[in-house]
Symmetry: C2
Subunit: 407 residues, 2 copies
């Protein structure tokens, strides 16, 4: 039997999905599982955009243009314009989810052995694309003590080598929920210009900014036009994860032309998803108001409940729909497993993502979990009741075990 | 401005799409263009499967399982079973088009610098995946003189080095239309077993076999269970290119588990396309009969017209919907350009794909074109009238130029 590739062997499994078998077993036992572990929004996909697909008239479901339907790209120009991002249809490649946009960016900008600096913790799937393309992720630490703010300039400077080709950010951030300020983005911009680096900016959660703060795109930073690549997706924006529609956007024509060759090799993005995405740009202007209100209420409830639990640290995130919490346990991974294997409260338990999988540096984040607030307020309350009791029970059984050990 | 990657720079543009600007210019001048250049079927997508998407009931367009909806994989098991391919739902990963299946296979089986042997001419987009993953394609020649039959065993043996990890075939073949016989597949199987190589088998055109010949899948060759990876797509099968639904199928559990990690990194395949694909398995058993008949008639007409043209060689292909023809011209690429730039007959011209783009060896196939018979019989006839007159006119203007030069 021939051997698999080294890159295949070294590809890390998804930390978000690693605990799935334990959750399945819990459900089989009849335990209700509150899923705070995945970023699958529960908000309904707007009926109007599903209807656009349902009402499709076509005889042949043909390949679209490799860059996506021109009519959809025209609509995207309109959408981006409303978000202070001035681009043309020629600066957009519609992709199969944000994932493909990430891949096109890495492939177009980086060779085997090149380095990309990413503040950690970061979205774990970036690892997959780095391993697949033999690019090295160089993490620089952001931490719970600063609420996951941008690491200081000198940490970037120290990490830069002759092989550094790019910096990557996710803003608002998955997994931390941190929203970068204009001042922070200008720091990143200056580093990119000073060291001639690309800036890959994952803005999947653009619409999810709270407390009156505005999202600022890497693509609207003056001076960064030839450096910035915007990686986008409609998955979270319209609760349309299954559409698999994203976008690769840049004003750098050489990069765009290069990405287009990769786009041509995979022929075209999904047609139905493009129809849905095109309709979404015409949703009423107030579409996000109710969603905003809902997510703000959820965030506030989740974080305040967590902050009230003894020994738990949870900074208030400014965006996305994630929070990272440090728990009074030695290993968040063991605790998460235990929650699914050995615990229930009123017939329920909680599933969270151990945060260590979002750090590249071994040992960091071992006491942290990522929580996605994609449940309604009642369920968040119930899940927090569960977690609160679980922390007490976990501590008690530890002490008991210790006592037993000491006897 | 930072530099793009070397792999991006060395990525070849699609030979199929290279002439597109010339075709657009011709259309702007009012010339009708018969498209024999691309494999976009004109056959209508079955209304029943489009209706399955139109009738979708869902509130949230969620991520599917990374391997695809289980209900769809169950249907695929049924479909493959009908085609003498015995697999389980756990041996299938639903992909975003056949393209992604190719990528998963290369990533899972090959590292940077590893070699994959492919008989040339081959589907040009394989280059894209090889360049993107730093894998080296080693072409071995098949030629028009044998009708593009499998190259002799010794050609494979000569091409094998310590870095060879796999052989790749496309069966029936794009661009040649050649359908491999059982004897030929057994030759390939024996080489793979002898040298411990993977066999990547692109079977996008499984249903398109003519003259009563049956398609044999690499996955049904006894002894090859741990070597064979089937790369599939519904694009051609149901005229559903825009669905972007394919499949990666293997009985090798280690390879499947490895590919699953890449599948998890990109989250999930498109949901609407999966709904369409699932419905397609329930199309009536005679669905392919009319399509078969139509393509057979088209192939026979196209090839007989080509064979009647002086100086043209065109072997009868046994499958897919392509034919390769050698033309009495020095450069098929120049001729194809000239057809779009300087020629028309009764207001029309013909667009074909120069075949040199399907060969990896420089200089091979320079007088050849690939023709896709995705037009109705009338249009094929008109296109062949066009081509016939064009060959005469091209020869005449060459002679005239020569005369002028000699004066």
């Amino acid at each position: 039997m021939p051997n698999i590739s080294n890159r295949g062997a070294s590809m890390p499994p998804s930390p978000i999905r690693k605990l799935v078998p334990y959750a399945e077993a819990a459900k089989k036992r009849g335990t209700k599982v509150f899923h705070l572990n995945i970023g699958q929004p529960d908000i309904e996909t707007p009926a109007a955009i599903l209807d656009a697909v349902r009402n499709t008239k076509m005889n042949v479901l043909a390949y679209s243009h490799s860059a996506g339907h021109e009519s959809y790209r025209r609509k995207l120009v309109e959408y981006y314009g409303r978000n202070d991002i001035q681009v043309t249809t020629e600066q957009i490649i519609v992709t199969c989810g944000g994932s493909e946009a990430i891949m096109f960016a890495i492939m177009s900008c980086m060779d085997e052995g090149d380095e990309i600096i990413i503040p950690e913790p970061f979205y774990a799937n970036y690892n997959g694309y780095a391993v697949g393309s033999d690019v090295k992720i160089v993490p620089i630490p952001s931490g719970i003590e600063t609420g996951f703010a941008l690491p200081p300039v000198q940490d970037f400077e120290k990490a830069i080598t002759p092989r550094t080709k790019a910096i990557m950010i996710c803003n608002p951030n998955n997994p931390t929920g941190y929203l970068y300020s204009l001042a922070e983005l200008e720091v990143i911009r200056d580093i990119c210009i000073r060291h001639n680096l690309f800036l890959l900016s994952d803005e999947a959660y653009r619409e999810f900014c709270y407390d009156g703060n505005k999202h600022i795109s890497a693509l609207s930073l003056p001076g960064l036009e030839q450096h910035a690549i915007l990686l986008d997706t409609i998955s979270k924006r319209y609760s349309a994860c299954g559409a698999r529609i994203g976008a690769f956007v840049t004003k750098n024509k050489t990069v765009l032309d290069t990405a287009m060759k990769f786009a041509q090799a995979r022929l075209s993005p999904p047609s139905f998803g493009q129809i849905l995405g095109e309709a979404a740009v015409d949703l009423p202007a107030n579409y996000f108001d109710a969603i905003h209100e809902e997510y703000t209420a959820r965030r506030d409830l989740l974080v305040s409940r967590l902050q009230q639990m003894p020994g738990v640290t949870c900074p208030l995130p400014g965006g996305a729909f994630y929070a990272i919490a440090e728990l009074p346990v030695d290993s968040a991974e063991n605790f998460c497993k235990w929650l699914l294997e050995s615990f229930e409260y009123q017939g329920s338990t909680v599933m969270m993502a151990p945060a260590s999988g979002f750090y590249a540096t071994p040992g960091r984040g071992v006491r942290e979990v990522r929580l996605a607030y994609v449940l309604n307020l009642d369920d968040i309350n119930n899940a927090m009741d569960c977690l609160e009791h679980a922390l007490v029970a976990y501590e008690a059984q530890k002490t008991k075990t210790k006592v037993v050990t000491q006897l």
